[in-house]
């Protein structure tokens, strides 16, 4: 039978239809809340209070966005300051994390030295608990260091998240050893090899770390470390606006749209590279 020899195996079209209905249905579940909030951001005041509520906007307007800046301009801390804080924390934290995590991933991926096994085991174990476990001791450490209520309380710990190092190490293992040996023959130092040979080769992994760190830091609200109003982030401001209740629904939606645009656009631009890194993410047993 010729059919048997083809790569495609028997598939019933009924199951195909069922599976793709499933995909479509859940896809709608994922995306409708986002569509709703985007539409809300462009709804004029009267449309926000229609009963029953509508999903799509009829007369789009930019009022909510201009209101946002208007309302927040007169407040004690201007909204642009929240934007700056979020952008600054995200950019500094992500940049530092990529550099430090890559530098640490390189020896772990390519060399056997004293302690490499135990270090990697600790990294893998630390993937298995959430930051909540360490929240209280971290608070004490921050207060000992005198970092409470400062940018570095948010930025410096972000340099050392275990997930980024883990993914980077898995990805770097795929670099051929011959390449590194050739560089060594030419007399390059470890640091030169790292910066000039390894780093350019792991661009997809950088982008993955960028996406993951950005997603995390962009959504941070300052936690229990930040008290000053002028150091707080956009996520915190968003929470305050949403607490304002239904009267601020449009403005709240406008902030949400600003919040979600940046990570989503970054992901769209780097998607193929990110997936390349994730392909090497696995844990060998």
């Amino acid at each position: 039978m010729a059919l048997r020899m083809k790569r495609k195996i028997n598939r019933s079209w009924q199951v195909d239809i069922l599976l793709f209905l499933l995909l479509g249905g859940f896809g709608a579940f994922m995306v409708i809340p986002l569509i709703y909030v985007i539409n809300n951001a462009f709804k004029p005041l009267d449309e926000l209070f229609i009963f029953p509520p509508t999903l799509f906007v009829r007369n789009p307007t930019f009022e909510n966005f201009s209101d946002l800046f208007q309302v927040m301009k007169n407040s004690w801390v201007p909204f642009s300051r929240y934007i700056f804080n979020t952008v600054f924390i995200t950019a500094a934290g992500t940049f530092g994390h990529i550099i430090l995590a890559s530098a640490a991933a390189y020896p772990l991926a390519k060399y056997k030295f004293r302690g490499h096994k135990i270090l990697f085991t600790i990294i893998v174990l630390s993937l298995m608990f959430s930051p909540h476990v360490t929240a209280i001791p971290n608070y004490m450490i921050m207060s000992t260091l005198g970092w409470l209520d400062s940018y570095q309380a948010m930025i410096i710990p972000a340099f050392a998240y275990p997930l980024g190092l883990y993914l980077m190490k898995q990805f770097m293992e795929q670099i051929p050893d011959a390449l590194l040996e050739a560089a060594k023959m030419d007399g390059a130092s470890e640091y030169r090899i790292f910066f000039q040979v390894v780093m350019p080769l792991v661009k997809p992994a950088w982008l993955t770390l960028l996406i993951l760190m950005m997603q995390m830091l962009w959504g941070t609200d300052g936690g229990s470390f930040i008290y000053s109003e002028q150091l707080k982030t956009m996520h915190y401001a968003m929470g305050q606006i949403v607490q304002g209740g239904i009267a601020r629904a449009g403005v709240g939606a406008a902030v949400a749209v600003i919040m979600m645009t940046v990570p989503i656009v970054t992901f769209v631009l780097s998607q193929s590279q990110v997936i390349q890194t994730m392909a090497s993410s696995g844990m060998k047993d």
Binding site: R4, R7, I9, L22, L23, F26, G27, F29, M30, V31, P33, L34, Y36, V37, P52, P53, A103, A104, Y111, F113, R114, L119, L125, L127, F129, S130, H132, V133, T134, A135, P137, M140, F159, A160, P162, L165, Q174, D177, L180, S189, L212, Q215, W218, G239, V242, I246, G252, A256, M259, M260, P263, Q271, V274, I275, Q276, M278, S281, G282, M283, K284
Partner: protein
């Protein structure tokens, strides 16, 4: 891929001395000296990692055996915090119960959903695949905008859920979704599932794309007859490393649920309907300042995460057998 040990190739031979072979300490010192560049590359990250992750875990375990309020010097009390936690703290037991219900339902569902959607998306053509990946990944990446659900489940008739149900005539009065312990936990689960197609989902999509195509041909000659057999005997075993990684991420996330609960149901929630281990931890750690007790809660959470991770890793090793 073969992992060569380049160090031993380039490393120097032990130097013969009149006293014979170098001692253990001498060898250790020499290894460290030879690899010093590697340690220099590692040190900035490891310093911060130990300071902000490993060291805090150790302090936390230590404080869990003490009475500590941040003002006075900690006082050693042995297992007292744990016995109080497990036998005398009804609210903790509610939190524990909610967390377990929560992770037993959302953990496996989100894990399977991550895989099923990755698997279905993988059969699409590349353009549609990229688009669908974005759709499923967007909620988890969009910077904590889950408060949208607060508007959807808002307790008045402007909430989209109430508005919809009233219009089609199922209910006549708006329901206070997020204040009623009857609905609270279910809504939080729904939102958590909405958010949960994140890192492991991406890892699965990527893993599926690296499965060796020729295995499927070989499989069909060996008598694989339908897509379910193909999935169980070929696809899943090939992806075991990614499945392990995804499990770690999903388990940890589902046991640490708190942000969604506090954002939607408030803190503390009505009748502790949305109380979890982490909200209990926040209560004692950041409001009551009973650090010893809070550390005991953190240690229980840590053991739960570690235990369930090791258990699931064991189970996953049997996939495809």
């Amino acid at each position: 891929m073969q992992k060569a040990n380049m160090v031993t190739k380039t490393g120097s031979q032990p130097k013969r001395t009149p006293a014979g072979l170098p001692g253990k300490w001498e060898l250790f010192r020499r290894d460290i000296k030879r690899d010093k560049h590697l340690y220099i590359l590692l040190s900035p990250y490891m310093l911060l990692f130990f300071l902000f992750t490993v060291f805090p875990v150790i302090i936390s375990i230590f404080f869990s055996f003490t009475n500590f309020n941040m003002l006075e010097f900690p006082e050693w009390v042995g297992w007292e915090n744990y016995s109080k936690l497990l036998w005398n703290d009804d609210v903790f037991l509610i939190g524990l119960k909610n967390t377990i219900i929560f992770s037993v339902i959302t953990g496996p569902i989100s894990y399977i959903a991550c895989f099923v959607f990755a698997w279905l998306i993988n059969e699409l053509n590349p353009k549609v695949r990229a688009f669908m990946t974005l759709i499923f990944f967007a909620p988890s990446i969009s910077g904590n905008v889950f408060f949208i659900w607060q508007i959807i489940f808002s307790g008045d008739s402007y909430g989209i859920m109430n508005g919809f149900l009233m219009k089609i005539g199922i209910i006549y009065e708006p329901i206070l979704w997020l204040q009623n312990p009857k609905y609270m936990l279910a809504i939080i689960m729904l939102v958590q599932l909405w958010l949960s197609l994140g890192t492991s989902f991406l890892a699965f999509i990527a893993g599926l794309q690296t499965v060796d195509r020729t295995l499927y041909e070989a499989g069909s000659i060996d008598g694989v007859q339908n897509r379910w057999q193909e999935l169980w005997y070929i696809t899943l075993p090939s992806m075991r490393p990614q499945l392990m990684f995804g499990a770690v991420i999903q388990i940890t996330a589902s046991l640490a649920v708190a942000e969604v609960a506090t954002a939607l149901a408030g803190f503390p929630s009505v009748q502790y309907g949305a109380h979890t281990i982490v909200t209990h931890l926040m209560d004692y750690g950041t409001i009551r300042f009973e650090m010893g007790y809070a550390s005991a809660i953190a240690t229980v959470l840590f053991s739960l995460m570690l235990g369930s991770n090791l258990l699931v890793q064991k189970l996953l090793k049997r996939v495809g057998e």
